[in-house]
């Protein structure tokens, strides 16, 4: 309760505020990079663009570490650096679409992508969109979408950035980024490595006297390379290549209630793509193709288990954005995704799926562009069968001298069964080839208020949402064989608020942001009749975050406070984990020279030394520290 009081005060203090949902990154004109369709055609959606400084401050961390404590996103973290399930608006991990440069990276086998494995150093822009966007991104965009982008810029000369960090429990991270660009060429190469023993101490609450113990079998090491090259063809066209290779090797630690663990997971992924874009007066065109490859090995010697899975996706997409008369725009696109997955545990050892989608969005504004409406449609053809058509609508009105935005949208949503759901083959667990897609609808409405004076800037955003999903795919024992079935219906609804307040004077800058989400995500139809109406397990009802930033010249302090309400651990809601609060403090100092810059930072995680569990019997580290240095050299600045 104390957490709410603090946040309530913060929010009252912030009083009214900026629409965080309006993207505040300005795309550079010389980049010739056509905006992804999300920007101009998702009308009336709430989303948050992650502050690019925050991304830079986290260059030595994973995306999961960077986003932990972000408003509205709940990360079900099993252990630091380990497994993480992402949840938006009370929905499951496979209900969040995760896209990189416009390509969906959700695994075709389990429908997830682990944010703990993605280095923040590889990502330049990040946006979290809450709510369903089936018409835009297709299958899986139910609770929300996370849009990541690694950008290439032109005309910036030669830039070399090096960073190195260290932290508690043997954490070591190094990264290097070399980019060169002139008017015609742009190339950026990034490499990184990260390792950690993760042998942190924790209090074992399951043993009498709560002794302090050390985590075992939790080490991780990672290597990665990201290459992007772009070439301008004349003044309007650009051709780009990108490739991302990464290798992760991690141990899976035991829980407090198991004696030991020998489980280990290794994965390797390669994502490459080619994109051609043309920016025109009447139309923007883009054609892109990607080849996404994942290899994963999970081994546990104590139970004689070793399982290797592979998947490949070839994605081809063509998209046109037309600027029509009378302030209207039309987006037309065609996407083909061909996926294969192979594993000894997959029926016939290999399976494939071919999906073709035609999508269109139309948006129209009035003359002053104070009113905008959009209609979208998506039609998918899955293995020669038409899926139900997915429509979406949205609106935005700017009133009171554009100080207030009223917005809303609605969309049908769906999720195709994963390859594991369809084709898993093992003696005690079988996939079910007769599964139907999960389907439902998502809607939201809200307002944003923003105002700016000479000294102050403040804003407030409030959104109410509802998502209903039926035919949820759940694994369930039929006889003594586990099988996935379309069984439950989940109704998730709630409210999300953000507020911020900012002030500058002389060399001082001060900014405070606060957010709260209240989510009731309940079983509307349940396999166990007595569980109907119960909150889903590991889905907090209350979540709140507040961040304060104080900067004086080149010295900056950031403090983030995060409160997560209690989470049920059993579906009959008879047991739960208590609410917890954590604090993170970041101090940064940047030394700037004519053509170089050095940045030092210290980060303190779990500042208040809170002893809590995100997942039952999975301990988290007590207070711990990180420090890092980064150097940037540029021949033009």
């Amino acid at each position: 309760m104390r957490g709410y009081c603090i946040l309530f005060i913060l929010m009252c203090f912030a009083a009214s505020c900026v629409a965080q949902h309006l993207p505040d990154t300005v795309k550079l004109k010389e980049a010739v990079i056509v905006e992804p369709r999300a920007q101009s055609f998702i009308i009336g959606r709430s989303s948050q663009t992650i502050d690019s400084n925050w991304i830079k401050l986290n260059r030595q961390n994973s995306l999961a570490e960077m986003l932990d404590g972000s408003s509205h996103l709940f990360l079900k973290t099993y252990s630091p650096g380990g497994l993480v399930n992402t949840s938006l608006r009370g929905m499951a991990a496979n209900h969040t679409a995760i896209l990189w440069n416009g390509f969906n990276l959700q695994s075709p086998l389990n429908g997830q992508l682990e944010l703990s494995l993605i280095p923040a150093f590889f990502i330049d822009n990040l946006e979290i969109q809450q709510g369903g966007a089936g018409a835009m991104w297709g299958s899986g965009a139910i609770g929300g979408s996370i849009l990541m982008a690694s950008e290439s810029k032109f005309n910036k000369g030669l830039t070399i950035s090096l960073n190195s960090g260290t932290g508690s429990f043997g954490k070591m991270q190094q990264g290097a980024k070399i980019s060169f660009s002139n008017k015609r060429w742009s190339t950026t190469t990034r490499i990184f490595r990260h390792s950690s023993d993760n042998d942190y101490r924790y209090r074992n609450s399951t043993i009498a006297g709560n002794p302090v113990e050390r985590q075992e079998n939790a080490a991780i090491r990672q290597y990665g390379l990201l290459q992007q090259s772009s070439m301008r063809l004349g003044s309007r066209q650009a051709l780009s290549f990108f490739g991302w290779w990464q290798f992760n090797d991690r141990q899976i630690p035991p829980t407090l209630t198991t004696a030991f663990s020998t489980a280990r997971q290794q994965d390797e992924s390669l994502r490459t793509g080619l994109q051609w874009q043309r920016k025109g007066k009447a139309a923007d065109l883009s054609i892109r193709t990607a080849w996404l490859h994942d290899w994963l090995q999970y081994a546990d010697s104590s139970i004689s288990l070793s399982s290797v899975t592979r998947s490949h996706s070839i994605v081809s997409e063509a998209e046109a954005k037309l600027r029509l008369p009378k302030f209207s725009r039309l987006n037309l696109g065609l996407n083909n995704t061909y996926t294969t997955a192979s594993s000894l545990k997959i029926k016939n050892a290999e399976q494939k799926r071919n999906t073709t989608a035609l999508f269109a969005s139309y948006s129209k504004s009035n003359k002053k562009s104070t009113a905008t409406g959009s209609v979208s449609l998506r039609q998918e053809l899955i293995e020669n069968e038409f899926a139900p058509m997915i429509p979406a609508v949205g609106f935005e009105f700017h009133v009171l001298k554009r100080k207030i935005v009223l917005r809303g949208n609605g969309s049908r949503i769906y999720r195709l069964p994963t390859f594991n759901d369809l084709y898993w083959q093992e003696s005690q667990a079988h996939g079910n080839p007769d599964l139907k897609p999960e389907r439902g609808w998502s809607s939201e409405t809200g307002f944003d208020i923003k105002n700016e004076t000479k000294l102050w800037q403040y804003g407030l955003g409030v959104t109410a949402f509802a998502i209903s999903t039926r035919d949820l795919i759940q694994w369930y024992p039929l006889g003594n064989i586990w099988q996935p079935v379309n069984r439950n219906r989940v109704f998730s609804r709630g409210i999300e608020n953000e507020a911020h307040l900012q002030r500058k004077w002389d060399s001082w800058q001060f900014r405070i942001t606060a957010s709260y989400s209240g989510t009731r995500s309940t079983l509307a139809e349940a396999a166990n009749e007595q569980n109907r109406g119960n909150q889903l397990i590991y889905t907090p009802i209350h979540q709140a975050t507040a961040t304060a930033r104080i900067a004086w010249k080149e010295l900056e302090f950031r403090y983030r406070h995060h409160h997560v309400g209690s989470r049920f651990t059993l579906q009959d809601n008879s047991a739960w984990l208590p609410a917890f609060q954590t604090g993170t403090l970041l101090i940064q100092y940047a030394a700037r020279f004519p053509s170089s810059q050095a940045t030092f930072h210290i980060r303190i995680n779990n500042l208040w030394n809170a002893d809590y569990q995100v997942v039952e019997f999975r301990p988290v580290p007590l207070i711990n520290y990180e420090a890092g240095i980064s150097l940037k050299l540029n021949n033009r600045s």
């Binding site: 009083a15 399951t206 004696a259 006889g479 409210i495 008879s574 019997f617």
Partner: protein, 354 residues
């Protein structure tokens, strides 16, 4: 000001979303006169098992006996419990231990540690017990000989793959090698005096449970072979009748489906009727039957089955969606329901304590 008011209202509305508050029952007087202990596995990945006590006379349930008495969780994947000389030995699979509790008050007296995927405890004498374990990789099954005074493993008797069910039979210990993470089709016969392996008997694939009938005959239920890669290569289960001394198979009844694996064989009090789980039902078989008549006695999917010789009831556990507390339903031998009670998460075994 209006915004502040709005916030205030929102917060009031949300803060008043009440959370259920019925989790902490008053710790009862630990006393276990007559009743059923239910062994609950607990959530598989990161859970804890529990022991539920059901007082058959008063019809009262105490869902979490161990953790409430001892103020700590029992451990991950609780497998079975056995009572021996007024102590209960609770075998906890993934935690690699057997908790020893005093049956008077259920207080922990220590634990037998260092076991590898242990399954079942069997008391031999005052100071000696056997614990079957699947062993490393779930394939190197053995029977661990435990000194009950020091709670130390003193010897390991190597058996087959996935050594599981243990039973005392005519001064022999029978250890069924249930396959573990592989397959096996043998039973190891051990002399409990010398811990020597007397014989290894060839049965059908993956023997799971054994009972004796009113004629002294030994009945063994084999689940059938699992092919972990291809379910089409599974083999059907078998119900076997063996000569009690020579262990020669006298009757071999094969189940019709190769994909449904029977489990949890129990014998009634009279020793003339057996019950077991097969697919989504409880089935029975008379000891006089020479072929399997597969008519379900109860049509419902259960995770576990037991037989209470005092109340002469079939006790079955329904694990529900496996992420909620399960139910135990007691049936008369006719198949009609006597009563039911809520147990812990994934009820897997019963101990009838009278």
């Amino acid at each position: 000001m209006k915004t502040i008011l709005l916030y205030f209202l929102i917060f009031l509305a949300l803060a008043s979303c009440k959370e259920k508050d019925d989790m902490t029952p008053a710790v009862e007087q630990a006393e276990f006169p007559q009743g059923i202990f239910v062994v609950n596995e607990g959530l598989f990945q990161s859970g804890t098992g529990s022991i539920t006590y059901f007082n058959t006379e008063r019809g009262e349930t105490w869902v979490n006996v161990f953790s409430e008495v001892n103020q700590r969780p029992l451990g991950n994947v609780v497998q079975s419990m056995a009572i021996h000389h007024n102590k209960a030995y609770i075998v906890v699979n993934n935690a690699g231990k057997a908790e020893v509790v005093n049956l008077e008050d259920f207080k922990s007296e220590g634990a037998i540690d260092g076991l590898v995927l242990p399954r079942v405890f069997l008391g031999i004498s005052n100071d000696k017990g056997y614990i079957s374990q699947w062993g490393a990789g779930g394939m190197n099954g053995s029977v661990q000989v435990v000194n009950l005074e020091t709670m130390q493993v003193e010897k390991s008797v190597s058996a087959g793959s996935g050594t599981d069910y243990l039973m005392m039979h005519n001064n022999h210990v029978l250890a069924l090698n249930g396959g573990g993470f592989g397959n096996d089709s043998t039973m190891t016969v051990i002399d409990p005096e010398t811990d020597a392996v007397l014989q290894t008997i060839q049965l059908q694939p993956n023997p799971r449970s054994a009972v004796t009938d009113n004629d002294g005959k030994l009945w063994i239920l084999c689940g059938g072979r699992y092919d972990f890669m291809d379910p089409d290569k599974d083999s059907p289960g078998h119900l076997l009748r063996l000569h009690p001394q020579t262990y020669v198979i006298e009757l071999d009844l094969e189940f019709p489906s190769q994909k449904i694996h029977p489990d949890k064989l129990v014998m009634n009090k009279a020793g003339d009727e057996m019950y077991f789980l097969y697919g989504s039902g409880i089935y029975s078989h008379p000891v006089s039957g020479t072929n399997l008549d597969l008519q379900p006695l109860v049509n419902r999917t259960f995770y576990s089955l037991g037989y209470d010789r005092v109340s002469e009831t079939i006790t079955a556990a329904d694990a529900g969606d496996f992420i909620s507390k399960g139910w135990v339903i007691r049936y008369l031998e006719t198949g009609s329901v006597l009563d039911s009670f809520k147990a812990g998460v994934i009820p897997v075994n019963f101990v009838f304590n009278y």
